[in-house]
Amino acid sequence: MKLRRKVYMVAGYNTISMGSGRKEFHPKKPRPGLEEYMKEAGQGVLQQIGGAAHVDECVVGNFIAARYNKQANLAAFFPFIDEGLKYKPCIRVEGACGTGALALATGVKSVLAETAEVVLVLGVEVQNSVKAVYGADILAAAGWYKERKKGHAHFFPGKFSERAGAYYQKFGYEKTREAMAVWYKNAIENARLCPTAQEFHNTSPDLLGTGMMKPNPHAFVESLNVFDCSKVSDGASAIAVVSEEGLKRCGIPLSEAVEIKGVGMAEYDITKPPADPTRLETTSVAVGKALESAGISKEDLATVECHDCFSIAGVMAVEAIGFAEHGKGADFVLAGNTSRNGKVPFNTTGGLIGWGHPTGATGVHQAVTIWEQLTGKTGDAQIEIPADRPYGLSINMGGDDKTLVSIVYKKTT
């Protein structure tokens, strides 16, 4: 995407990622609905930008509330979030688990098209409305419907289990499982530093041991254990995408913003299996486009938020970005490079496995986390951003490496 104007993100907000693991969560007790999450996140942004009057357009990303919550037409909740949004242009976008970043890209396009100076972008998903076994049916819509019948009961874990199995076979079981366990450990340790994270309350003493639990195909899938997987989450995240004029209008100093330097989008045929199950090729294309449009290389990145819906996807993302050669991602992770004290910290508030994965909100959550890191707002989870590497990268993936959006962010001061 060619950025013909300067575009910024400001005023991010995350609700709690609610679900198993949180002390407040009880599957049988009533919980907030879709609209409450939208209101909390939306108001969280509006309060930082001086209110709804400053907003030109709104975008909501949501994967599949029509099935989880029997609710469509989500754009019409913006005036519910704030009466000041009544009659403003509002759009809803969808691209499975890549929905959130599609919403961000839509906001960026509006600013580039000069139809808006301030866009309120929100992502939301409320998934604990059904048991996981039925949620699997709903999430399977991120794949091709004609594959559902022969697919696994847990459709997407099944897909990534096949990828993991292929990876084990090609590059070794033990080493890969160990790297996946380290990935899990990093995710939980980072989440413990972030009060909104679903795993914030996790006190398990032996994370590596847990991560190494042997996959049990009878109870789950062939090549993954449940800790390799992101959980079922309810949550919303929101952020404002603004122009320079928009920054001024909201009265926000440049130091509180991150600049969007590159956006890479890529799509792959949903009816086709991956050409090579051990690679995330569409991810690789999207990241390449994002880095190219930003005019930087991976060496300039201080931090990455990648789409670790499964720990194996985290390992493969490391390779897709180019930090390690094909087959060496596990070594890169095992050497500690992706941990919060490593060369390039990944998923510093826990990522999808640790922070949570309210599907349609995830892409927005990633942007909020990078905005926080680059503006020094991450609290206990703050990492150091080296002066010579002022960039962050996010990768949001819809389906099995199908709908990809990668964004490069830059610290402004």
């Binding site: 048991k131 076994v133 049916d137 399977a140 559902r148 022969k150 696994h152 009961a153 009878h218 789950f220």
Partner: protein
């Protein structure tokens, strides 16, 4: 007739009871799984659910549907394979619905015993009354069109006795599920002297298919489970007597219950367990065991007295606990029965005093929940019980006495040929009673 053919016509006797409903659930699922195999398409599979009242059967069918949904959700991986050729069923939700309907369709709720005359297999879960069981078995056996196999869920009556009295020629086996059968892994299997080997072969496969644990027991009244539990309960009541000189009845019940739960790291205290099983059931089992046990009196005057006062414990159909020695609110004990005043006294009235008298839990204590699934539990328990031996508290003293007695009971079960091995005794207590450790151990040597 092979395994699958045998399972085409089955009857559960006492199907609406706590045990019968669980056995019905498990058996009907096993039958449905067989009926769904391609080679069995078109064959009829029927399970009669026999009980005395229509009202109970209505409740049963509701219960079965709810449980089937839960079970189907758990075995969704298997079900997707079973329904692989049904192109109209795509989502997990559709497959689960289809399976629940398919299982429900093979169940026939009935109130008349004539249905049993068709069955190849009779699972019996009627009340624990030897005369009743003999009468039912004889009647079915005499009128049956087949030569049916009888699997009795008795937890205490010798199988050989039932075989002989009902004239079954060895077509009987003890298949003792634990409560609730849908959840509990343990099945005690008891061969009478005369039991035909093909019954054992069938049951071994049946239990394995249900992914449960089979433990063999000699055909001796009470078998392993109740052989241990009844004596263990009697010892609890013996400790109660020891304390009632110094403490009131509710205080003593509280203390013994606390020692047997917290100090001994068990899932529940002995009086709560008696309530859970039912004071009436415990009394009945002791009555059945008593004539068969020599040199030992399996009888509790205290249970008789509680029954006279109409305090029975046991459970409601939904699994919630009825009041017994203890009174429960939301499943938790809140008061204890005072046998003299014939009313419940709140635990809060005396807990502090009794806790002080028992003293603090030995160092290294962890609650049962934290120990039972812990991979390092052996070292943890060893250290804890070592500390208990060093402690001079009243609670530690009572717990050590109890542990010694529990071990002695276990060893005697092996010595007196109730259990085949010490491991079998431990397996029964670990899986059937959810203990964190078997009674035959060397923690307190």
């Amino acid at each position: 007739m092979n395994y699958e053919e045998k399972l085409q016509q089955v009857l559960v006797l006492g199907a609406a009871g706590k045990m019968g409903s669980g056995i019905l659930l498990l058996t009907s699922m096993e039958m449905a799984d067989i009926s769904l195999k391609p080679e069995n398409k078109g064959k009829e599979y029927i399970i009669y659910a026999l009980d005395v009242s229509q009202q109970a059967l209505t409740g049963l069918m509701k219960y079965i549907r709810v449980q089937l949904v839960k079970a189907a959700e758990k075995k969704i991986n298997v079900l997707r394979n079973l329904y692989a050729d049904r192109n109209d069923l795509i989502d997990n939700a559709e497959i689960i619905d289809a399976y629940v309907n398919d299982v429900m369709n093979i169940i026939r709720p009935v109130t008349t015993i004539e249905s049993a005359y068709e069955a190849n297999i009779i699972f019996e879960a009627a009340s624990e009354n030897p005369d009743l069981k003999v009468k039912l078995f004889s009647q079915i056996n005499q009128n049956s069109k087949t030569e049916p196999w009888f699997f009795t869920n008795t937890s205490s009556i010798p199988i050989g006795y039932l075989d002989k009295e009902a004239g079954l020629d060895g077509r009987i086996l003890g298949v003792h599920f634990y409560n609730p059968p849908a959840v509990q892994k343990l099945v005690e299997v008891i061969k009478a002297e005369n039991s035909k080997p093909e019954l054992s072969e069938f049951v071994t496969r049946f239990i394995k298919n249900m992914r449960k644990v089979e433990v063999p027991s000699y055909d001796f009244a009470g078998f392993i489970g109740n052989g241990h539990f009844m004596r263990d309960a009697l010892f609890g009541m013996e400790l109660l007597d020891r304390l009632t000189g110094q403490y009131s009845f509710p205080e003593a019940v509280y203390m013994v219950n606390k020692v047997s739960q917290d100090f001994m790291i068990r899932p529940m205290g002995i009086f709560q367990l008696i309530d859970y099983v039912g004071i009436d059931v415990c009394q009945f089992i002791m009555k059945v065991m008593k004539p068969h046990v020599k040199n030992e009196l399996i009888h509790s005057p205290l249970l008789d007295k509680m029954m006279d006062l109409n305090v029975k414990g046991g459970q409601y159909f939904d699994g919630s606990q009825k009041d017994g020695f203890l009174k429960y609110e939301k499943g938790r004990p809140v008061a204890i029965y005072d046998i003299d005043k014939k009313s419940y006294v709140p635990i809060a009235d005396f807990a502090e005093k009794c806790d002080a008298a028992l003293g603090s839990l030995p160092a290294g204590h962890a609650p049962w929940r934290a120990v039972v699934g812990n991979r390092a539990k052996d070292a943890l328990l060893r250290e804890y019980f070592n500390n208990m031996k060093q402690s001079d508290s009243k609670g530690a003293e009572l717990a050590l006495d109890y542990l010694r007695r529990s071990k002695e009971i276990g060893e005697n079960l092996v010595k007196e040929k109730v259990a085949y091995t010490p491991e079998d005794v431990n397996t029964v207590l670990l899986t059937g009673f959810f203990h964190a450790y078997g009674p035959i151990n060397d923690y307190i040597n």
